[in-house]
Structure formats: structure tokens, C-alpha cells
């Protein structure tokens, strides 16, 4: 009787053995290119950068809370009139989400894709990375959002799991909007926010973002990016 284990060994071994020199080649390459690669990581992990990130989060959260308190006070004291979006960001937040519901993983197709294979046909695109941080709540991916060229802010990014409808949350520098919960990342309690806002749109028009999804979510992320004059959606 042939076991499933031996069948799988046969099936995958058929794809070919490891290149004999692969281990040394990889180790040599990593050792050689490490400083350049590590710079990016060290920049992200440096304590001062973390402090700066949390200061930005605190300022944004403070501004939001303060702004909302003021808005609440005004709404109580002012005569009731239909609320109209005021700021450019509020106008973007008022736009409905156009993310379709997907019924199963087999229907979850990444795209539309740019010519280089990255999701998003413009003006924004997204590129994945190998950095994934797992917590008891779920996992966070470090990804890059980039634009074809000059764009005007503010830019509002919202995302949902298209199968379960669960919100994709954001942490880090650009996280914004309502707080969905908290999690512990790198030993720090952070707010999980349901919006990502890019106010300062400058060259090179690329931003590293951190998005998280609960571990019980299927993982079919639908993205909607709203900016002045455009709405872009894609699945990634």
C-alpha cells in the first residue's frame, strides 16, 4: 500500500532536486547584500522612528477625537440641518464602498492588474512584501502603495475582506479614522483603525503601509482608494 506521504514525495521530487550550490549561493548573497537591505528594516525598527510613528498616531487620533468632540458639540448646539461633508477628507469618506461581495475563495481573483503585475490599474498600485507580523488577533502585512506620478491629496484608503465583510484594519503612520480595536505589536498596544489617509502627497509617491486582518477572515482583501476626482478599486 502506497501512503499519501510517499505519493507526495514522489509527486514533488519529480519537480527536480535542489541545486547543489543553492545554500551557499543564498548565504553568500544575503551576507553581501545585507547592509543595503537591512537599512530599510533598521529604519523601520529604530526606536526614534517608532516614537515618531506613535507621535503621529497620537496627533492624528487627538485631532480626530478633538475634531469629533467639537463636531458633536456643534451638532448639539446648532439647529438640526442635514449634515453635509465639509472637509475634502469628509467628502471622500462620504463616498460609498464599491467592493463586491465574493462568495468563496475560488471567486477571489486578484486584480485588475497593471502591466507589471501589481494590482491596481492606476492612479494607484499596490505591491506586496515578505514582511508579515502575526499576533493572537490576526496578521499584518507590510505593503507598498504607490502612484504612477503626481497625485493630489488627501487620499483615503479603505479595505474589506470581500468574502466575510470584515474590515481590514490599519496601523502605523497612515492609519486613521474610527478605531475598530487594539492589538499588541512589537510589545506596544496599538489602535487598529479602519481608514488609511495620506495627506502629504510628495515624491516618490510611494508609501509603506501596514494592514491587518483577523485570523478567522478568509483573506480576500478588497481595496478602495478615493482621491480628488477618482475612485479606484482592486482585489489583492
Amino acid at each position: 500500500m502506497v501512503s499519501l506521504r510517499s505519493e507526495l514525495h514522489a509527486a514533488y521530487d519529480e519537480l527536480g532536486p535542489e541545486d547543489a550550490g543553492l545554500s551557499e549561493r543564498v548565504v553568500t548573497t544575503v551576507a553581501r547584500d545585507r547592509p543595503r537591505r537591512a537599512t530599510w528594516s533598521l529604519r523601520m525598527r529604530a526606536p526614534l522612528s517608532l516614537v515618531a510613528v506613535f507621535v503621529v498616531i497620537a496627533v492624528v487620533a487627538g485631532a480626530l477625537v478633538g475634531g469629533r468632540l467639537i463636531a458633536d458639540w456643534r451638532s448639539l448646539s446648532a439647529p438640526r440641518v442635514p449634515a453635509a461633508p465639509q472637509t475634502p477628507l469628509q467628502k471622500l469618506e462620504a463616498r460609498p464602498l464599491h467592493l463586491l461581495t465574493v462568495h468563496s475563495w475560488t471567486d477571489c481573483v486578484y486584480g485588475p492588474l497593471a502591466s507589471n503585475g501589481d494590482p491596481g490599474v492606476g492612479p494607484f498600485h499596490m505591491s506586496g512584501s515578505a514582511v508579515e507580523i502575526r499576533t493572537a488577533w490576526g496578521s499584518y502585512l507590510h505593503e507598498f502603495l504607490y502612484a504612477d506620478g503626481p497625485v493630489t491629496g488627501p487620499i483615503l484608503v479603505r479595505a474589506r475582506d470581500q468574502i466575510s465583510g470584515q474590515p481590514v484594519v490599519f496601523v502605523g503612520q497612515y492609519a486613521s479614522g474610527p478605531v475598530a480595536g487594539t492589538d499588541v505589536l512589537d510589545g506596544q498596544v496599538v489602535d487598529q483603525q479602519v481608514e488609511l489617509v495620506i495627506d502629504s502627497v510628495t515624491t516618490p509617491y510611494a508609501w509603506q503601509i501596514e494592514d491587518g486582518l483577523a485570523k478567522d477572515a478568509p483573506g480576500c482583501r478588497g481595496w478602495q482608494i478615493d482621491g480628488p476626482g477618482f475612485t479606484e478599486t482592486f482585489t489583492f
Binding site: 501512503s3 499519501l4 505519493e7 509527486a11 537591505r37 486578484y110 492588474l113 515578505a130
Partner: protein, 178 residues
């Protein structure tokens, strides 16, 4: 932990740290490559995934508290890199190791069976596929599989059982596990 501390040191013991890192990394490359090849079915993409995972490992290794978990942790990084590679290659589709046109003649039954099995595994949900490959192909104990995929042991076991049922509907699960 001493070894990890050396790796963290930016100057002075950098060379020693690199040697330690190389010694830690070297035995992980082969299982990492096998995992990537099983997930991606493309040698070049598998090598790229292992290479990228190694860069990530270098950056993250200093945060590892328990080096006993190094292998499943590294394989988890490789799996994540495969996931991203699969995302990036979505336009062209990921080969599942089956020729576009099967021209199997008699005597090539085993090749056909192997291709069928790879195809069946490829159709599993991503995490289930990862569990199957880690458990059956890389021969990892279930505890390490659970660490690599970031799930509890019981959840990993149930996903493995479910995958076995999908791959071999008529087989008693316990028989398939040996």
C-alpha cells in the same frame, strides 16, 4: 540566545555575527527551497522566494526569542514569500506542474498520477496546502507545522484531516497519516 545577540551587534563582532547567521541559515535553505518549489512549482520563483525569505530572516532573526522555533519560523517566512510571489505572478498564472496539453502515453502512469496529485494539492486553500506540504513533504512534526502556519495545534490537525479527506476521500484519515 548568545548567537542571536552576536547577530544584533552592528559593529565589532559583525563578522562573527555573519558567520553565526550563515551557520543558522544554511541548513534551512534546502527545506525552504523544497517548500517553495512545492508551493510555486517553479524553480526560479522558488529560489527567489528562499532568497527573499533569507533577507527577511536576517532582519528578523534578532527578534527570535526561541531558536528552537527557527525552522518552522523560517518556513513560515518562506510560505509568506510564496504567497506574495503568487500574488505578483497572478497575471501569468502559477504553474501547477501540469503541462498545458497532457501527452501521456502508456507507461507514464506514474507521471500522470504525480501531476494529478500536485494539481489536487494546488486546489486546496492556501493554508491547507501549506499544512499538507509541510507535514507530508517536508516531514515536519505537526507541532512545527502549527508554528509555521501560525495556528493552534488542534486547528492545524483539523485542517490537515480535512485536507486528507479532500485529497483521498475514501481513505481513513489515520491510515493516510503514516
Amino acid at each position: 540566545m548568545q548567537q542571536v545577540a552576536e547577530i544584533q551587534t552592528p559593529r565589532g563582532s559583525q563578522l562573527a555575527g555573519e558567520r553565526v547567521f550563515a551557520d543558522l541559515l544554511r541548513p534551512l535553505i534546502e527545506p525552504g527551497f523544497r517548500l517553495a518549489l512545492a508551493m510555486l512549482h517553479d524553480r526560479g520563483a522558488a529560489e527567489d522566494a528562499v532568497q527573499e525569505a533569507s533577507f527577511t530572516a536576517w532582519r528578523k532573526l534578532a527578534t527570535m526569542r526561541d531558536q528552537g522555533r527557527l525552522r518552522p519560523w523560517f518556513l513560515g517566512v518562506v510560505a509568506n514569500k510564496c504567497r506574495n510571489a503568487r500574488r505578483q505572478k497572478w497575471t501569468s498564472g502559477v504553474s501547477i506542474g501540469v503541462p498545458e496539453e497532457l501527452t501521456v502515453v502508456s507507461g507514464e502512469d506514474s507521471a500522470l498520477r504525480n501531476a494529478d496529485l500536485r494539481q489536487a494539492v494546488a486546489r486546496l486553500p492556501r493554508e491547507d496546502k501549506l499544512i499538507v506540504v509541510l507535514y507530508f513533504y517536508l516531514d515536519l512534526p505537526l507541532e512545527e507545522v502549527a508554528i509555521a502556519v501560525g495556528n493552534s495545534l488542534s486547528a492545524t490537525r483539523s485542517r490537515l484531516y480535512r485536507s486528507i479527506k479532500r485529497l483521498r476521500p475514501g481513505v481513513v484519515v489515520e491510515e493516510a497519516l503514516w
